[in-house]
């Protein structure tokens, strides 16, 4: 009951945020939401499936490019381009899953990395389609129910709604019997197989589901920036998502959201004050690993419980 009340208070606070904060902070929060969906989708694989992916930027980038190309080159409206981009990217995840899931552990990591590097290279070199290093620009934000999202707070509410829906659906996924089976394949794959579960199928379905949410974050990303550049498909982007999950706490629902907030605030806010913010990012991660190796969310929970039991 307190948990539900806590969530309600948090949502109310988030809904009130644009009234209290300046435009810059509202935009920063929108970027945190987008990145939180991205990190949460990586968390499905890493935290619940035990599958470390270094290629998750593929889904973000491909969905963003697909939406941009469908609106700019094929002349489709956003409402038509968005589902096509999502379906296309999810189908790609189906295919990539067939390849990447031939291995687990380090092999899986390298396969996802290789696949995403292929896409990154394509976006850079296929200049006729993607305009290469110039990137695609001139993309419009959609206007659901006639409300333009160009305004910072309008976009904020749109991103907030999508993020809440995404996190809720991912939480349902994890809490379901299928989610339990997924955790089983992470901890005891051979026992799960002996119990009659199709381990490969469980992993593949999770891979596709994570790819779908990666694509959703990609759509929000391209609507927010109105611009897409090959760098969004790069290894650096995948690694940043992975870092957010590990820093926040993999295998927890709130972890990726907290991690995404840490990364985005360091990258986009603190960097305005500290020139060597990359170094600061490094220090923060070292500190997290030293003091809370399981991530910020489980770490804080542990500290909280300890102080309570002492009192």
């Amino acid at each position: 009951m307190t948990r539900k009340a806590g969530i309600a208070v948090l949502v109310a606070l988030l809904a009130a945020f644009p009234f209290a904060a300046g435009e810059f902070y509202v935009n920063l929060a929108s970027q945190v939401f987008i990145f939180a969906i991205f990190a949460a989708s990586i968390n499905l694989l890493l935290g619940y499936g035990g599958l470390p992916s270094l290629g998750h930027a593929s889904y973000l980038g491909v969905a963003a490019y697909a939406s941009a190309l469908l609106t700019l080159k094929a002349g489709l409206a956003n409402w038509a381009a968005a589902p096509l981009a999502l379906i296309g990217t999810t189908l790609m995840a189906c295919f990539f899953g067939l390849i990447a899931l031939r291995a687990t552990g380090l092999g899986f990591l390298m396969l996802t990395l290789a696949l995403s590097q292929v896409l990154w290279g394509t976006a850079y070199r296929w200049i006729a389609l993607t305009e290469g290093d110039n990137g695609l620009r001139g993309i419009n934000r959609p206007a659901p129910f006639g409300v333009s999202l160009d305004d910072a707070s309008h976009f904020y509410y749109f991103a907030l709604a999508v993020t809440l829906l995404a996190l809720w659906l991912m939480a349902r996924f994890v809490a379901s019997p299928f989610g339990a089976a997924l955790r089983g394949t992470r901890d005891q794959p051979r026992r799960m197989a002996a119990l009659g579960h199709d381990v490969w199928m469980v992993r593949w379905l999770t891979f596709v589901y994570a790819g779908f949410w990666g694509a959703v974050s990609g759509l929000l990303f391209v609507y927010y920036h109105k611009y897409i550049h090959p760098i969004s498909l790069s290894l650096a982007n995948s690694a940043e998502g992975l870092l957010a999950v590990i820093a926040g706490g993999s295998g927890t629902l709130a972890g990726p959201v907290v991690g995404a907030a840490i990364v985005m605030i360091l990258k986009n806010y603190v960097s305005a004050y500290v020139e060597r913010w990359n170094m600061l990012l490094g220090f923060v991660f070292v500190a997290i690993v030293v003091f809370m190796p399981e991530g910020v969310v489980p770490g804080l929970k542990r500290l909280w419980q300890r102080s309570r039991s002492r009192a």
Binding site: A20, A21, G22, E23, F24, N27, Q31, I127, G132, D133, N134, G135, R137, G138, D150, H225, K226, Y227, H229, I231, S232, K267, N268, S271, A272, E275, R276, N278
Partner: protein, 412 residues
Amino acid sequence: MRFTRRRFVQAVGLSLTGLPFHSSAQASPIRLGLMTVKTGPLASGGIDMERALNQYLKERNGTMAGRKIELSVGDSAGVPAQARTRLQDLVEREKIQIMIGPLATGEALAVDDYIRQQQLLTLSVAAAEDMTQRNPNPWFTRGTSTSSQCAHPLADYCYKTLGMRRMVVIADDIPYGHEMCAGFQRVFEELGGKIVQKTFPPLTVPDYGSYLAQLNTKADGIFLGFAGSNGFRYLRQFNEYGLRGKVTPVGGMTALDEAVLRNMGDEALGIVTSCWYSAELDNPINRKFAAEFRKEWKYDPGFYAAATYTEAAVLEATLNAIGGRIEDKQAFMKAVRSIKVDTCRGPVRFDSYGNVVGNVYIRKVERKDGRLVNSVIHTYPDVSQFWTYKPEEFLKNPVYSRDFPPAKNLEQ
């Protein structure tokens, strides 16, 4: 209530002085933003941009047209998506009224629609052609040059004065390199020359060995369209492979920039390049600028330092023309496109697309007072982005790229 950092500072300032806070439009400072790159591979140029701009402001006691200038600096690390966030930071939090920058082509394109949406006055350094050509941004003015603006006259010079007929072009595999080579090729081939080989190594290639092995040595010359330190790296290997004296290198506007020249030796001597600036330019503004810059930082100002120093001069001249009222954006844009101003690069004015019309200098590397300099050997006066073509006809063609204009004279 919106509580920003500035409001906090104002509140503290108020409570300390106890004086009422005046904010008449005329006396309040002008908020200037510099979008530059201070981390990553483009940082050396980006830091020069900040140094030269600070020098200009210092020389004017931080005042233009009777109003104080407050400078905020944003570092994009050369990453387009981050350039957008940085610019939002400058506009929405620092409340800048005018931006100088950004540095790189990709960044300019990434913030294009944001500039339009915010109607942000922009004085750009980035060379992206179409920002002032087929899709001109009404708030965008460029006092440096497009990618090909200095390559057109160099092609003319190579054909007519250096007597070259068969040439190779090589450049970084980025739009800036493609656009520059395309402009060079168009003018050179229309004069009757032949481009016999075109090569685009990746921007971060570790070693030019394989490209040098493939080089067509039966050509008269090779055009180097490199940026950053790549021109320096290529030339060093070019000499190590014993190609010096076989094919004559000539360079684009960033290939032998002052910023890399200071690390080079005799291998650079005698190489001809073209640029809209040289630290050796003999005009009163530049004599003072280059001497001061050299005194402060112990090296010559180059492309990037001159870029912000020029843009600052354009800004000041425009503010003087409109009595400092930067709040009237339409008046500013009208004024900036009609002024003529003397800068460190010589006299400049702007065409109706917002791009500069100014001198382009053919320069030759010489040794002077023990250091290498780009001595000016020829001047093409008042060069526009359209060279000698009619703008309407120029704009009917697709934008310069890897494949346009098509290369018909390639040899194996």
